[in-house]
């Protein structure tokens, strides 16, 4: 860097502020830019609305159908949320078991991998047979698809505890349960929250898959109905609502993560910020 003259602290702080403003604005600029290009392309090439509707058409459709969009989005949010909570409870428990016991790991891991390889669309019909179409298949699909990343991450976090940290507790004569509670779990928390960010987005995928197969409400159901009526703008409206919900949930996960595991990044929320400039 050609920093011949020492820059004043104030100038540096101002530059940092400007950079932070840019970082906050950037996602919005990118999104706005994407819609703009989309709109211009649709008009310039006169693309038919039932192939690819322009953003303006989608917005119109959103305004027109805001009520069903909102109520169905709520239904999806509910099934996703419940499935996700189940995945957290089950994923944490199984992750701790697998991470702290080699026997459980050897016994269960292959089965878990096999299970995770099964496409969840294929499971939905079975769930429908068991529980009937609607609420529960969506909840369970969200659960089934999102617990795996949680299990793997929590297990990894616990299994990779530095031997030195474990020895600190062992040297005090601690019980295995103490070691898990005082070293294993706290140490696994950054891994856990990292997995939540993945899990919450795939949970949405799960419940929407289920809704498009067998349901009478939810954003997936709405898109299915809209496409059967060739109302393509409404299908896209559904997609956008889904995307927004995904981002919101992701943001919630990130916020919780930053509040609880600041130690893992040594107080620097994003190391990339420090190296930039």
């Amino acid at each position: 860097m050609p920093a011949d003259r020492p820059r004043s602290a104030e100038a540096l702080a101002e530059a940092a502020r400007r950079r932070r403003r840019l970082e906050h604005a950037l996602p919005w600029l990118v999104i706005a830019g994407m819609f703009l290009v989309w709109e211009v392309a649709c008009r310039a090439f006169a693309i038919q609305p039932f192939i690819l509707p322009a953003p303006s058409l989608i917005a119109e459709s959103m305004v027109k159908w805001w009520q069903p969009l909102l109520s169905n989005a709520w239904a999806t949010l509910l099934t996703t949320g419940i499935g996700f909570l189940m995945a957290i409870v089950f994923g944490l428990a199984l992750g701790v078991a697998i991470g702290s016991s080699v026997l459980v790991y050897r016994g269960l891991y292959p089965l878990l991998i096999a299970f995770n390889s099964v496409p969840k669309v294929a499971v939905v019909p079975i769930l429908v047979i068991w529980f009937g179409a609607g609420f529960w298949p969506a909840v369970l699909t969200a659960f089934l698809i999102s617990f795996f990343p949680i299990v793997v991450n929590v297990a990894t976090g616990i299994a990779t505890v530095e031997p030195e940290l474990r020895d600190v507790l062992r040297a005090l004569g601690a019980r295995p349960s103490d070691i898990i509670a005082k070293v294993g779990l706290p140490r696994a928390m950054p891994y856990f929250f990292a997995s939540l960010k993945v899990a919450i987005t795939v949970a949405f995928v799960g419940s929407i898959i289920s809704e498009t197969v067998a349901a009478n409400e939810g954003i997936g159901h709405l898109m299915l109905v809209a496409s059967s009526r060739f109302d393509v703008p409404l299908v896209f409206a559904g997609l956008i609502v889904t995307g927004v919900m995904g981002v919101l949930m992701y943001w919630v996960a990130v916020t919780i993560e930053e509040r609880t595991t600041g130690w893992a990044t040594r107080g620097q929320n994003d190391p990339r910020l420090a190296t930039g400039g």
Binding site: L172, G173, K182, W263
Partner: protein, 268 residues
């Protein structure tokens, strides 16, 4: 000596299976209850390994380790240990790190909830004693290496262990802090008379603090010599400048040099 508090008898330790590193062989030593001993020896000779065997963190490959009349078969709960690295838990504040043993070791574990304030005051006093007042709420990574090492010393002391195992606790400190902490350790020892095994590279430190200094051979390590230190306590730092004290330090130094030379000729 009556029945020793710690008895190590013909212990061997090999890491990593039959072909692994032989860290200790034929190591024997006795420590009386309330005694303060220092272990010195060339780097890599198995001092940290010896500490792990005595606290039961690792099982020995051969021989027996007896502490407080019982053969050690798993981790002890009467020991306080300071490792060669600070090993503080990064998600806990310094105060919470120091209080960790209280959450694990009985009887403190059962009392902690009811007498939290008293225990916390004790932990704060210890931190103040080692010069860390004002850092209670900081996280380990916000402290320098030497400060972390001091906090880890507090963690080893907070539950008044009967057996104190210190693995180069002052290695990362500057001379002045180190000398301050020698006196802190001496004070703690005089007040509670725990049995102390101190591993150190600093011969002056060994002679100043210990009743007996044990010298280990090069790897595979065993005790090859010992030197009793006659001075009564409390000892004062002026002592370290006296000719007789320095003669003892020199004598130890020569014996370690011999041990290292033996190692070098073995390697050839």
């Amino acid at each position: 000596m009556a029945t020793p508090f710690v008895r190590i008898d013909g212990v061997a330790m090999r890491y990593g299976g039959v072909e692994g590193t032989l860290a200790l062989r034929g190591t024997s030593l006795d420590v009386a209850e309330g005694e303060f001993i220092a272990v010195v020896g060339p780097s890599g000779c198995g001092k940290s390994t010896l500490m792990r065997l005595v606290t039961g963190l690792w099982p020995s490959t051969e021989g027996t380790v007896i502490v407080d009349g019982r053969e050690v078969s798993g981790p002890l709960s009467i020991a306080g240990m300071a490792f060669q690295n600070p090993t503080l838990l990064p998600w806990r504040t310094i105060l919470a790190n120091v209080m960790l043993p209280l959450e694990v070791v009985q009887p403190h574990r059962g009392r902690l909830r009811g007498e939290r304030a008293a225990y916390e005051a004790k932990a704060r006093d210890l931190l103040k004693l080692v010069g860390l007042a004002g850092f209670e709420g900081k996280y380990p990574w916000q402290l320098s290496g030497g400060m972390q090492q001091r906090a880890s010393l507090c963690r080893a002391l907070v539950h008044d262990p009967r057996l104190l195992m210190l693995d180069e606790p002052f290695g990362a400190l500057d001379v002045f802090t180190r000398e301050d902490l020698w006196d802190v350790l001496q004070e703690v020892w005089l007040a509670r008379k725990p049995t102390v095994i101190l591993v150190t590279h600093d011969l002056k430190e060994a002679v100043y603090l210990a009743d007996r200094v044990l010298i280990m051979s090069a790897r595979p390590g065993r005790i090859i010599a010992e030197r009793a230190v006659p001075y009564p306590r409390p000892r004062r730092l002026d002592l370290t400048y006296e000719a007789e004290f320095q003669a003892i330090v020199h004598e130890l130094r020569d014996r370690i040099s011999d041990a290292r030379r033996a190692e070098a000729s073995d390697a050839r």
